[in-house]
């Protein structure tokens, strides 16, 4: 009996001590983690929408686990939208962000936030060569994948040897564009 009370007492003591130390430690790191997150978001927004951090502001229109929609404002005028989308890649989730013109006529730029696809093949979705072609593509949610170089705004060229990753990116963009349009139609200004 005495032994079991001692066991409970020791474990409880260390668990409480551990919780206390971590709670105290968290007060130092929490703020910095949040700052890092915001800084990263801001730099992504700048990269895909050409937002000027000095004069422009952004507001969150919608934020969910696999989808985020931001409105970039220049004064009170909408300058662009930025959409974060997520979907399955070849090995793990692909998470990306792209900018869209305010009338949803074209995509401004695309950036991959997270991917774990095969280096040398699928991971080339992060290459400048592939990403640069997204500039000016139609943001209508019905982009098509083609295997040859294309100038058409409604077609995107796949990466040789990485059809699955290329398809995944395309599907995420198409799906997210439609979702953003729906949200803006229902409740957006």
């Amino acid at each position: 009996m005495k032994e079991s009370i001692r066991m409970i007492a020791v474990l409880t003591f260390f668990a409480l001590l551990s919780g206390g130390i971590l709670g105290w430690f968290n007060t130092f790191t929490e703020k910095r983690v949040e700052e890092n997150r915001l800084r990263e978001l801001l730099s992504s927004l700048q990269a895909v929408t050409g937002m000027d951090p000095k004069t422009d502001t952004y507001e969150v229109v919608k934020k969910e686990k696999d989808f985020e929609l931001y409105r970039i404002l220049s004064g009170t005028k909408t300058k662009a939208y930025a959409i974060v989308g997520e979907g399955n890649g070849y090995q793990d989730k692909i998470r990306l962000i792209f900018g869209v013109s305010p009338d949803f006529s074209k995509i401004l730029a695309l950036k991959i936030l997270e991917e774990k696809d095969t280096p040398g093949l699928g991971a080339r979705i992060e290459s400048e060569e592939y990403l640069s072609q997204w500039k000016g593509k139609a943001a209508n949610g019905s982009l098509k994948l083609v295997k040859t170089p294309t100038q058409n705004p409604y077609e995107v060229q796949a990466i040789t040897g990485a059809t699955i990753s290329s398809t995944a990116v395309l599907n995420i963009v198409n799906k997210s564009v439609l979702r953003a349009k729906k949200i803006l139609k229902e409740g957006g200004k």
Partner: protein, 198 residues
């Protein structure tokens, strides 16, 4: 003299990774670049040193039946601190290491050293043991990641070391490459140990 022996045994003769074959999960997973490996070494060294000190201090007051649970609570506390610290001050590294920092909790090197050493020895010996084992783990990860990064990307710690003629062996930064290098290094370490014993 005894302390010195506890300190250097982990470097080679009882190398935790190649001789005892513990902690292979991070060894295989985060050694695709030297930078990731260094982050992992630092985190493991911090956790190992911290928990060895605490465990050797409290070893007499912890009842035998709950010792593993208590050790895990101590280890998890240090791991969480390391994880939060990396997330706050080295966000890129934290992102690259991903779940492998929290997974240090279940790294056998850490719990193994508490169970086999720190819970039976004084603070000073435990510190020496933890430092020695951390260096052994560091040697292992640096060897692995150097081979993999040089052959797989042609760089070392991000600096270009092989010329343009070199075509990177992509397989070396993939999981398969980790197993190739690991196999050769385990063979090498044990072959040397065997040769010197005889």
């Amino acid at each position: 003299m005894n302390l010195w022996k506890e300190f250097i045994k982990g470097w080679w003769k009882e190398n935790p990774v190649f001789v005892m074959v513990l902690g292979t999960c991070p060894t295989l997973a985060v050694t695709n670049s030297v930078r990731n490996a260094i982050g992992m070494i630092a985190a493991v060294a911090f956790v190992l040193l911290g928990s060895s000190i605490i465990v050797s201090l409290i070893r007499k007051m912890v009842p035998n039946q709950v010792r593993i649970a208590t050790f895990i609570v101590v280890i998890a506390t240090f791991v969480t601190m390391a994880d939060r610290y990396l997330a706050a001050y080295y966000p890129d590294l934290s992102k690259a290491l991903g779940p492998y920092v929290p997974l240090i909790v279940v790294n056998c090197i850490i719990l193994g050293r508490q169970e086999a050493f720190a819970s039976k020895h004084g603070v000073l010996e435990s510190i020496m043991d933890a430092l020695g084992m951390s260096i052994g783990f560091g040697i292992a990860l640096l060897l692995m990641s150097s081979v993999r990064e040089i052959l797989g990307s042609g760089t070392w710690l991000g600096m270009k070391v092989l010329g343009h003629w070199f075509i990177p062996w992509q397989v070396m930064i993939l999981p398969a490459g980790a197993f190739f290098v690991f196999g050769f290094l385990v063979w090498g370490f044990n072959a040397v140990n065997k040769a010197f014993k005889g």
